[in-house]
């Protein structure tokens, strides 16, 4: 047997190995893609119910005497009035058969805790409503919401079900009477956090994220671009510059939680900046994103052809002028892309912000960078920890909002890169 035959003999086996190897590669990629799809569909399916809100229509008589107010009462009196009373009356009127104290309490829990504020705001907006009887769509409690959306199975035996038979019969009665409706959950986008799942909204977290990112951008962009310019264009070759470069590369790989420790020890304990404030969060995140932006900016500056610099220098510009008038504008699209990617990274970051106290339960919507606030990823974390079922869908919905912003930012980055990228 000669060598050719030997090789031919082994060929089949070798080709099989080749095939197996190649399919292992395909398999790995398919697993990654499959996982991504699973994650996205899982979250989308869980999130969808959160975007609609069940409402109960009740006929309320806004009786001024019952509320102990008058049409021309000042706002403070209106604010202090107990609107729960009229809503309870309306519920009792709808279900007159309910008599015992315990059952009444059960009945009152059909509407959300927020219903009274809803009614109060209506009356404050239009004091003429006092004394009238009108049909109002009140926000339903999260249990009612869950029954209507089908996440609590009505066919389960009573002992396994969170909502008991009695309440279920009321819900069915309301439903058959056409008093239950559902609509898009605007409330979710227009209010702050709450302990009640149906009242919890994401506006506070979105604004908190926005303020934090503004601080991050304002600090990290100028510093990072200056650093990149210095390192690419001006830095001499010496030990000190090497040390800076090692530091930058290292900082890019330091765990984010360590930056949180830095923020806690230095900015909160040493400089006594306010806890939970976007300004501290922004400072910490800007230190964290600096390396990312510096590295991206450096490669953008490096990509500008030397001929541009030499032309500027040849026409008598100083080094500084050639950099700021010619190199920097040419490198700007790349720098901006890197910045947006760094900002997206900062938007999704959670751990360092936990350290500086942005994890507090904050109902108010932040008005400035020093107000206590929380950010989107932390809102996700907080809601994921809450035991109420209603928060599960809220968490997923918050994740979708977060992913939406991330995708939007990345899309802008890709667009910028495509639009302004120059092949020199």
């Amino acid at each position: 047997m000669n060598n050719t035959d030997l090789v031919k003999q082994g060929l089949k086996k070798r080709y099989l190995k080749e095939l197996i190897f190649k399919s292992m590669g395909i398999f790995s990629i398919v697993i990654a893609i499959l996982f991504l799809l699973m994650l996205l569909t899982d979250i989308t399916i869980k999130a969808l119910p959160a975007f609609s809100q069940t409402k109960i229509e009740l006929e309320v008589q806004i009786d001024a005497d019952r509320l102990n107010i008058e049409a021309n009462s000042p706002n403070e009196v209106l604010m202090a009035a107990d609107f729960r009373l009229v809503i309870r009356d309306a519920l009792l009127k709808r279900f007159p058969e309910v008599k015992s104290r315990k059952d009444k309490r059960e009945l009152y829990s059909l509407t959300s805790m927020g219903a009274e504020y809803q009614l109060r705001d209506m009356v404050i907006d239009d004091p003429n409503l006092l004394g009238q009887t009108l049909k109002v769509k009140f926000m339903a409690d999260d249990d009612v919401d869950a029954v209507i959306k089908g996440s609590i199975d009505r066919s389960l035996p009573e002992s396994d079900r969170r909502v008991k038979d009695q309440k279920l019969s009321w819900i069915t009665a309301l439903e058959s009477n056409g008093q239950i409706s559902s609509g898009f959950n605007w409330h979710f986008f227009s209010s702050g956090d709450s302990r009640e799942p149906e009242m919890a909204g994401i506006k506070g977290a979105i604004l908190g994220s926005l303020y934090t990112l503004l601080v991050t951008l304002a600090l990290s962009f100028p510093v990072a671009v200056s650093a990149a310019i210095y390192l690419e264009e001006f830095a001499p070759k010496n030990r000190f510059i090497d040390f800076i470069e090692i530091n930058i590369n290292n900082l890019a790989a330091v765990p984010s939680i360590v930056f949180g420790l830095l923020g806690l020890a230095v900015f909160i304990n040493f400089f006594s900046l306010p806890r939970s404030a976007p300004v501290v969060g922004g400072i910490v995140l800007s230190l964290m994103t600096l390396p990312t932006i510096i590295i991206a900016s450096r490669s953008a500056i490096k990509a500008v052809p030397p001929s541009l610099r030499e032309a500027a220098l040849g026409l008598g510009a100083s080094k500084m002028q050639s950099v700021f008038h010619h190199v920097l504008p040419a490198a700007l699209p790349g720098i901006l892309t890197g910045t947006i990617i760094g900002m997206a990274q900062a938007l999704g970051e959670t751990a360092p912000l936990l350290m500086i106290g942005m994890v507090a339960f904050i109902v108010d919507i932040p008005q400035s960078v020093v107000d206590p606030s929380t950010v989107l990823p932390i809102q996700v974390f907080l809601w994921a920890d809450s035991p109420e079922r209603g928060f599960l869908e809220k968490t997923s919905a918050a994740i979708m909002v977060l992913l939406f912003f991330l995708i939007a930012m990345n899309a802008i980055a890709i667009y910028l890169r495509k639009k302004f990228e120059k092949k020199w």
């Binding site: 090789v7 590669g25 990629i29 990654a32 800076i244 830095l262 350290m355 992913l403 991330l406």
Partner: protein, 460 residues
């Protein structure tokens, strides 16, 4: 005067300086006979004059701001000692009340004794504030006048200006160093305080971790135990599972994408992997805790295994998926750095593609791949949110992936979130753990970056 108002005033002075200097030079240029001698644009003189008035004043203001608080504190302390007021309570807390009183109602709500101190505090604060304003403003005004008198056409304005800008740029670049120094000092400082209370050896080698101290001395767990071994083992276990998932999958997908895939496949698969890298870790944590962990538990129970609801396996698995893009992009870089001639040589001798990859490319790229794996390991060790949400708090010393373990990062988060006094051993322990984390990842990073760089140089 408020700081913002002061800065605003300084900026106005600087702007004034700019316009006056520019005007002065422009007029001087117009009177000059030999126009060829004019080398510098008038605006550079303006810039120099403006910076000349602005920068020293800003620096002085910053220094005064920093020393203001300790000064006020010491003044109040001496005042309280002199007037025989009770200063036994914590001074910081005491002053916080007084500082917090910014509305008349809040002032009225203070205790009588605090009201007296408040009066004094208010006096001191007003005087220091006025002094600061006076010093800063006079420096600025003097410099404006002096600068405007001194500046003339012979001043090397552009060179001066460019030197200043270069200095500013260098300052920006050295922020990286300051950050590192800040990190090192903050964790080191608190850690030494911790090691003053808990011996370093019992921290490093102790096998019991229960940082909670009971309130009464006779309760169970009256003394806290700070043996960090269970945390180190838990971290290793979860990171190991993560690497077990991510290294083969990441490496194989990098190999497929760089050696086999057509352009269309690459243009789809690469962005998908990048999306995987861009998803926030808190989302992975949510997915691990609410979808993967119950699934693994159900699956294990159907096979007759007992699985903790917060198993190390779930956290490690999801973390592994998260690191895939990291490993694959690093390996991709490394593989594409292998010279084409090696590939062609091997293929030309009749090797199949897989043989070329396994026997030529991977050995050639091995240092780079090892570096990438080390970086991935450092990522896994430092990852926080997935483990906080999906791994437990129970410090079990076990290597069984089906049980709940806790990690260094989880403990840092639990020790430092919530309200607690800053000086207890419990909170200081978090900084000691942070020091361990920083040192470990630093060593891994330095080795990895060094290996990768050496490897790149080899083929350049």
């Amino acid at each position: 005067m408020k700081i913002s108002a002061l800065i605003f005033l300084l900026l106005i002075f600087a702007a004034f300086s700019y316009f006056m200097a520019r005007q002065k030079i422009t007029t001087a240029y117009q009177q000059q006979k030999q126009k060829t001698k004019i080398l510098t644009l008038p605006k550079y003189f303006g810039y120099v004059a403006a910076l000349w008035s602005l920068l020293p004043a800003l620096v002085v203001m910053l220094i005064l701001q920093v020393v203001e608080e300790p000064y006020i504190n010491s003044e109040i302390t001496s005042y309280m000692a002199a007037t025989d007021l009770d200063s036994s309570t914590d001074l910081d807390l005491y002053l916080n009340d007084i500082r917090g009183a910014d509305t008349p109602e809040k002032i009225a709500a203070l205790s009588e004794e605090k009201q007296i101190v408040y009066q004094r505090f208010h006096e001191i604060e007003t005087t220091t504030n006025r002094t600061t304003t006076a010093i800063v403003l006079s420096i600025s005004i003097l410099l404006v006048i002096w600068g405007l008198r001194k500046i003339n056409t012979d001043t090397p304005a552009r060179k001066l200006f460019e030197k200043i800008i270069e200095g500013v740029l260098m300052l920006a670049a050295s922020i990286a160093i300051m950050t590192t120094v800040g990190i090192v000092f903050s964790v080191l400082f608190e850690s030494t305080r911790f090691f003053g209370e808990v011996p370093i050896l019992s921290f490093m080698f102790g096998t019991e971790w229960s940082p909670q101290t009971a309130i009464r001395a006779d309760q169970v767990g009256s003394s806290a135990a700070f043996g960090a071994v269970p945390l180190f083992v838990g971290t290793m276990l979860i990171s190991f599972i993560a690497l077990l998932v991510s290294v083969p999958l990441g490496l194989m997908s990098a190999i497929y994408l760089s050696e086999y895939a057509s352009n269309t496949v690459r243009s789809v698969a690469k962005p998908v992997l990048e999306i995987l890298a861009g998803i926030p870790t808190v989302v992975y944590g949510f997915f691990a805790a609410l979808t993967v962990a119950p699934f693994i538990r159900g699956f294990g129970e159907s096979m007759g295994l007992s699985v903790a609801s917060e198993s190390a396996l779930a956290a490690g698995l999801v973390m592994g998926i998260m690191i895939i893009p990291f490993v694959s992009s690093l390996s991709d870089d490394v593989l594409s750095a292998v010279p084409q001639s090696l590939r062609e040589g091997s293929l030309g001798l009749g090797a199949t593609r897989s043989e070329t990859i396994v026997k030529v490319l991977i050995p050639a790229a091995l240092p780079g791949i090892v570096g990438g794996v080390l970086l991935a390991a450092s990522r896994a060790i430092g990852e926080t949110m997935i483990v906080v949400m999906a791994a437990g708090l129970a410090a079990n010393l076990t290597v069984n992936p089906l049980e709940a373990v806790t990690t260094v990062t989880v403990q840092i988060v639990t020790l430092l979130t919530g309200d607690q006094e800053f000086d207890s051993a419990k909170t200081l322990a978090a900084f000691a753990l942070g020091l361990m984390l920083f040192v470990t990842t630093l060593i891994l990073n330095v080795i990895a970056l060094h290996v990768v760089r050496k490897y790149r140089e080899q083929y350049e």
